[in-house]
Amino acid sequence: MLYREALNKAIDEAMAVDETVVVLGEDVGLYGGSYRVTEGLIARYGEKRLIDTPIAELSIVGNAVGMAMGGLRPVAEIMTANFALLAFDQIINHMAKYRYMSAGKITLPMVVRFPQGVSRQLAAQHSESYEQMLSAVPGLIVFAAGDVNYAYHALKYAILSDDPIVFIEHELLYNKKGEVDLNAEFDPFKARIVKEGKDVTIVSYLKMVDDVMAAVPEIEKQLGKSCEVIDLCSLNPIDFKTLESSLKKTGSIVVVEEDHKMGSYGAQIISWAAEEMFYSLDAAPLRISGADVPIPYNRRLELASIPTPDSITEQIVSWAGNNGI
């Protein structure tokens, strides 16, 4: 199944079991979603549940908040992360806070989902990542779907849960193939150990997990060491338990993320490791991030602005050298 099909299946099944689930966003209905995530759903559930909205992101989220107050389970789609900025007031001042401010009287069973990240030459206004900002907002749960199985299970969980959840997808993953394990018990808050290893812990999420995995064979070859690769999955809350065990085992940590380095999400992970696991660390932690520049259009520059399997390999190998790993 493709990643986008897994998302579609999650929404479809949630809509089937609960009639109050509605989807809203630009082109989500007749068009089937710009990444085809909601394809076919309008035929099944009609225009009242697949709501094509005008281009007004503030209202997409603001209306979803009100729908949740009024008894529905809205799933709001923002076409691309950058446009979510237009809805930040509704996401941060409203969606994230009403429950707390009302002392729990208001619950907002809602999801805001969007794709983010660097795709292929979409330039500065279409290539951003906002997990850094949104994971820092108390009251929001933030999931990041790095693989097909997680995409399906976590989105379905998110839609049927009573919490306000931000669900992040990656532009380049929609056509990724993978299996959905329907039998397994699933916990969307648990980090996923993508590959076990004993010498270096590499923490990542979203598309960078694939880039890390692409780099690992070469890294292991060059270093003669084994890497444990972890997909965080839930960006807030963070499954620190899983990180802790891994770090205790390996004594080192590398975070790989696509976003700009300055003030990045990964800084939180490294900061945690330094604060809480200092005496388990045998080496300086390493953060591999994007460059601190708006994303340029030109392909060479674009690729130079984000980690790639090659640059990941290079940075980890050189770091290992400097730190006696």
């Binding site: 709501i51 005008p54 908040v65 002392a103 808050f189």
Partner: protein
């Protein structure tokens, strides 16, 4: 309007005024802090709107004590909230600006100017979807009518023909800025004209407000789509307790106070419903007692426990799930 209702409206207005005066006093005494926005001068508008929009959902702003009480929320729970106490309607976490009570279909207390309007649009969609026909009312000030959230909502509510009453409380000012200095015209209903039926009412006349809101609610309940009603009001106090209000001349304020909605309603009670001065006095006293009790209750109420800091942030399950 029958006599009972007229009395009730008057009583709520007086209750509102006295409540606000008590809040002001206790703000100055240090029992209440933060931003405190008083509704004095606008009680006719606030009370009549709540009484008229009987069923259905109400969304409003930070200037909402009188509306909350008139909607049926216990004044004690409201005053305790202003005092930041555990018995407050938001358990002391929200304060004056954030009174919420879904059991009274009151989602008041948004402090982002205009922020509640798209929420009300979404709620109207939900109610219509669920076949609940009472409609939704969203109250906002003149200051909210220049922001994107407002405009997008006019457009969206109109496209979907939602059962939504846009109720604009136009008191002429957004903090210190006169609306006419930052808008191309004085009456903001004009902005809604491309989208829906617009109406205007004297917001200092409770009876007129009551009638206008009733009419509007009937229209939206009848599937007419959204309606915009603008009520011209004025507030007597500064924007909030921290605003000295120097931008208004004494004369302007006098003209405004001459239209006092409570005195006006009192006259209606006398002249139309033939209430005696004593009967009116009894209502006042009853209201005063309720306010005194509310203050007493709020004063005695306990502070929230420190553990309250961390409740209702995440889902209950999260912590376990992760651990």
């Amino acid at each position: 309007m029958n006599k009972l209702l007229a009395e009730e409206i008057y009583y709520d207005m007086v209750l509102g005024r006295l409540f606000e005066l008590a809040a002001k006093e206790h703000y100055m005494a240090g029992d209440i802090a933060g931003f405190l926005h008083l509704d004095i001068g606008q009680e006719g508008f606030s009370v009549a709107a709540m009484k008229a929009f009987e069923k259905g959902d109400v969304f409003t702003t930070y200037r909402e004590h009188v509306m909350a009480i008139s909607r049926g929320i216990d004044p004690q729970a409201v005053m305790a909230e202003l005092f930041g106490k555990a018995s407050g309607i938001s358990r002391g976490r929200g304060g004056s600006m954030h009174l919420f009570d879904p059991s009274h279909f009151f989602y008041g207390g948004d402090a982002i100017v205009g922020g509640q309007i798209p929420n009300a649009v979404g709620c109207a969609y939900a109610r219509k979807f669920l076949g609940q026909e009472d409609g939704v009312m969203v109250v906002f000030g003149d200051g909210a009518t220049s922001g994107g959230a407002f405009f997008e909502s006019l457009n969206n509510a109109s496209t979907k023909k939602l059962p939504l009453l846009f109720l604009c409380e136009n008191n002429g000012y957004a903090i210190g800025t006169k609306i006419t200095r930052v808008a191309p015209f004085e009456k903001q209903a004009k902005k809604a004209e491309p989208y829906m039926l617009t109406m205007e009412v004297d917001g200092m006349d409770a009876v007129a407000v009551y009638k206008a809101v009733k009419e509007a609610q009937h229209l939206i309940q009848d599937g007419h789509g959204p309606v915009f009603l603008e009520a011209m009001t004025c507030r007597y106090e500064g924007h909030s307790m921290s605003d000295p209000g120097n931008y208004r001349s004494k004369e302007e304020l006098e003209i405004c106070k001459a239209k006092d909605p409570i005195e006006r309603m009192e006259k209606v009670l006398h002249e139309t419903y033939l209430l005696s001065s004593e009967q009116i006095d009894t209502l006042r006293q009853r209201a005063q007692k309720v306010v005194d009790d509310a203050v007493e209750f709020a004063t005695a109420a306990p502070e929230p426990e420190l553990e309250e800091l961390y409740t209702e942030v995440f889902c209950k399950g999260c912590a376990n799930v992760v651990s």
